[in-house]
Each structure stands twice: as structure tokens, then as C-alpha cells.
């Protein structure tokens, strides 16, 4: 069993939209959070890979999840490596 085919439910203005899980997109946003707190490029890339792997493992047997679930699991994995990057990743959409 694999995470492939997992569907992510997103809430936009209380309207649910579903889309396929994209590991690359998740990795990019985690890497950006890592770079924002000053991690070196290589380390940011490795950290993103590690966090995406953790999310993919969690997605096994879960065909339908919400985007908040993905964010929570990625934040948990990211906190171990860089608490500051995890904080920015978790809160980047609540700054304004």
C-alpha cells in the first residue's frame, strides 16, 4: 500500500476543494521555510526530503486527508530538525 493517489482536501472560504497530493510542492514550501530561517541550501534540501518522507509514510492507508493534516505532520517532522523553520512553515499564512 502506498500514499500515491491520496487526495488532499483544501478549504477555500469554507468551500472544500480536492487535489492530488504533490510531494514536490510540499518539499518546495518546506525548503523555502528552512531557507527563510537561514539554513544552508544543502541542509534545507535534506530537511525538506526528510519531512516529505515522514508525510508520505503517514499518508500510507489514508486515501483522503486535509491540507491541515499535511501541515501538522510536516511541522512535526520539521520541528526535530529546525524548530524555527517549523514555526515559520506552520504560521506563514497567519502573518497578515
Amino acid at each position: 500500500m502506498t500514499h500515491r493517489g491520496s487526495v488532499v482536501i483544501k478549504l477555500h472560504d469554507e468551500i472544500a476543494q480536492s487535489e492530488a497530493f504533490e510531494a514536490k510542492r510540499l518539499a518546495d514550501s518546506i525548503e523555502a521555510a528552512c531557507l527563510s530561517v537561514g539554513l544552508a541550501h544543502g541542509l534545507a534540501e535534506d530537511t525538506a526530503k526528510h519531512a516529505v518522507k515522514a508525510v508520505e509514510l503517514w499518508l500510507v492507508d489514508r486515501p483522503e486527508v486535509t491540507s491541515d493534516d499535511i501541515r501538522r505532520i510536516a511541522t512535526r517532522a520539521l520541528t526535530i530538525v529546525s524548530p524555527e523553520a517549523a514555526y515559520l512553515y506552520k504560521h506563514h499564512h497567519t502573518m497578515l
Binding site: E31, S36, G38, E84, Y87, H92, H93, T94, M95
Partner: protein
């Protein structure tokens, strides 16, 4: 009002404006996204400096515009204008207390309508050059005019009581104090500091900043009312 009183009130008004957070939020979003796109620290420092310059320029323009209008409409500040101004300060102070940050949300989500917040976030993220950052800085002042309009108007009224050379000094003092938080952020980012620390500090202290800004506006409003409305009326002045 004595010269010292005017400058003290001008500084107090600028400190209240400095505690408003839209510009700080936008510069944090802009910097975070620029660093995430692997923008160099030198370029980012230039962008943040341009943003700060934009905020300073728009703040100076707003205060100057208000002062120009006031000078042309009222050769001497009437008591009615002082009372309107003090009423506005108390009203906006209460609005800051109750509405400045959204309740039941984590982070530092501000009062602004969500479509506008989404637009400003998108613009902040899309900014990659210093001139764009300058324009974004000017927009951040206009975006919060509901709150900083009253402090700017008060500063303008105070400036009209000064001689022209003193007006320039007063304007400069107001603009520098009002943009002090942005200067600190420029220094922090240029020194390679973490954005997460800035954001975490803002989140931890948001209720205190909200309470302090609201209270300061209310106190200032009451002081202005007593000093410029009640006292002259008690000594027989006409409205």
C-alpha cells in the same frame, strides 16, 4: 501649548503609529518569501531598506498633506477641530482594543478584510526588486489609514503650531519614530537574524501591543480634550 509639549505629544503620537503592525507584517512576509527563493542577503537588505523608505515617504506625505489642508482651511485651530480630534482618538483607541487583531486565530492575523489581506500577501510575495518594495511600503501606510490616519492628523495639527523650520524638525522626528520598528527589522535581517524570532516575538506580544496602542490613543484623546477644549472653554473662549 509650549514647544516642549508639542514635541512630546508629537513623539507620543509617532510611538502609537509605530505600534501598528501592517507594515511589519508585510515586510516579514516579503523577506520570508525572498529568502525562500534564495535571494541574496545584500539584495534582501536593499529591498527591506526600500520598503522602509516607502513607509517613511508615505507617512511624511500624509502628515504634510493634512498639515497643508489644515493651514489653508483653519488659520488658527478651532476648539471644534480639537474636540473632533480627541473624539476620533478615543474612538479609534477603542477600535484598536476590540478589533485590531482577529480573535480566535493564531499568528498575527490583522483586522483588515480577508480579500485585501490575500492581495497584500500575494503582492508581498511577488516583490523581488527594490522599487517594488518601495511601492509596497507606501501601500502599507495607505492600507492602515483607518488607524494611522488619526495619529497623522494629530501630528499635522501639532505641526501647524510650529514655525516652518521647526515644522521640518517635527516632521522628521515623527517619521523616524513611527518607522523605528522597521529600522530594527532592517538591522536584524541585514545581520542575518532569523525571521522566525521576529514573528514569534510579535505573536507573543500582540495582545500587549494592542492594549498599549489602544490605551495610549484613549489617554492622548482625553488629554487633548482637557488641555485644548475644556481648559479654554472654562476660561471663557468661544467654540
Amino acid at each position: 501649548m509650549t514647544l516642549a509639549e508639542i514635541f512630546i505629544l508629537l513623539t507620543a503620537s509617532a510611538i502609537i503609529q509605530a505600534s501598528f503592525q501592517l507594515s511589519v507584517s508585510m515586510v516579514t512576509v516579503m523577506s520570508g518569501h525572498a529568502l525562500g527563493k534564495k535571494t541574496s542577503l545584500t539584495r534582501l537588505s536593499r529591498m527591506v531598506a526600500a520598503f522602509t523608505l516607502g513607509v517613511m515617504t508615505m507617512t511624511a506625505l500624509c502628515v504634510s498633506l493634512f498639515a497643508l489642508i489644515l493651514t489653508n482651511v483653519f488659520p488658527e485651530t478651532p476648539i471644534l477641530l480639537w474636540s473632533i480630534l480627541s473624539g476620533l482618538m478615543v474612538g479609534i483607541g477603542l477600535a484598536v482594543w476590540f478589533f485590531y487583531y482577529r480573535y480566535r486565530t493564531s499568528g498575527t492575523v490583522l483586522w483588515i478584510p480577508r480579500p485585501l489581506a490575500t492581495y497584500l500577501t500575494k503582492r508581498s510575495r511577488a516583490t523581488s526588486m527594490a522599487p517594488e518594495a518601495f511601492a509596497l511600503g507606501t501601500t502599507s501606510v495607505v492600507g492602515e489609514i483607518v488607524f494611522n490616519g488619526v495619529t497623522s492628523l494629530f501630528a499635522a495639527v501639532l505641526l501647524t503650531h510650529l514655525a516652518p523650520p521647526q515644522q521640518l524638525v517635527g516632521l522628521l522626528l515623527y517619521v523616524v519614530v513611527a518607522t523605528l520598528p522597521l529600522f530594527l527589522i532592517v538591522l536584524h535581517i541585514s545581520g542575518g537574524g532569523s525571521l522566525a524570532r521576529i514573528q514569534r516575538w510579535r505573536e507573543r506580544n500582540k495582545r500587549f501591543l494592542q492594549f498599549a496602542a489602544g490605551s495610549a490613543l484613549i489617554i492622548l484623546g482625553v488629554y487633548v480634550y482637557v488641555e485644548t477644549v475644556l481648559t479654554p472653554l472654562a476660561s471663557g473662549a468661544q467654540v
